[in-house]
Amino acid sequence: MATVLSFLNPSNPAQQILPAASGGLNTIGFYGPGFGLSVKVGEYNETTYRTTEDGQTNGGALPNLGYANVSGAFVGPSIIAEELLEVENTEATLRVRLVTDASVGTQNTRFRSFDKNDINSAPSGVTVQAAEIIKPDPVRGSGDQFWLAIQGSGSVLSLTDQLTPAVQHDWFIGLSSLPVSIGEKTNFAFYFETEFL
């Protein structure tokens, strides 16, 4: 088996966001109160779905996180904000999984949003907030305390090194998106990279 890097539903790892070039359910879609409903300009998403590139096919709900303030998020349908450090792994928007043959450690792991053409260019018309979530158990989490607006190479989310050797590594990422202008925003995508031996 070769090295495999996957984008998965954090609460249901069997549900995969397919490769970008597949043409299938390859997109994380941010919506208003339900699938297919727009997010108001200047407001953050209320629901998140796996969908197709045009946002028209419902491939199942992903856990929704809504940006509440610099250190807080609305989890699922809740209207009461939680601290990011209290958000559980399975409540994150995205699970990124690396599987390798050898038992490896990882370092310099980064996640960015971009305009679908150049990984260095920020997406236009949207603000994307991201935070690493690390809370596998009831203990207070150890991920990011604050959201970071990720924009191409100008602002990249650095994820925790996982130096303990393992054949599988998971990262959990919270995402929330806000349109800054009217109209569907399809020209943004996510890029992830990690180093190992």
Binding site: P19, A20, A21, A102
Partner: protein
Amino acid sequence: MDYGLSKKVDETVPVVRWIASLSNGETIYENVIKDEIPAWERLSKYVEDHDISITNLRLQIAGTEVKLPAGQQGYIQKKVAWTVGGTINGLRLCIGYVQNGLALIYEVDENRGSRTQRTVDPGEPWTIYHADIRRANANSI
């Protein structure tokens, strides 16, 4: 102690691989042993235990070879998995060396065959330094 290192091409040695020449005259080929730590970590332990150094490092990929200059202060090897969306979209294979406080890294994309080189801070935890430098560092602690 068995380090599980391959001194010739065998069934554990992948087609795309690094090859290290050692100061004791041995040549080590990257191998993959399921659930075992990476060959680079095993090599690091081996050179430390035997007080020897890497004298040269090569990367073989898709019929081409990237060869680093011999006799450097340290050598680096790592891989960068990257994806847009899900499932692996690419793997960059990187080898490099440390000299005079800088590390020069060569990256080769496994799928695209493209090559880049960049200079980075040598603060790489996975660098295997020359035995003289390891000894000097150990004495300074």
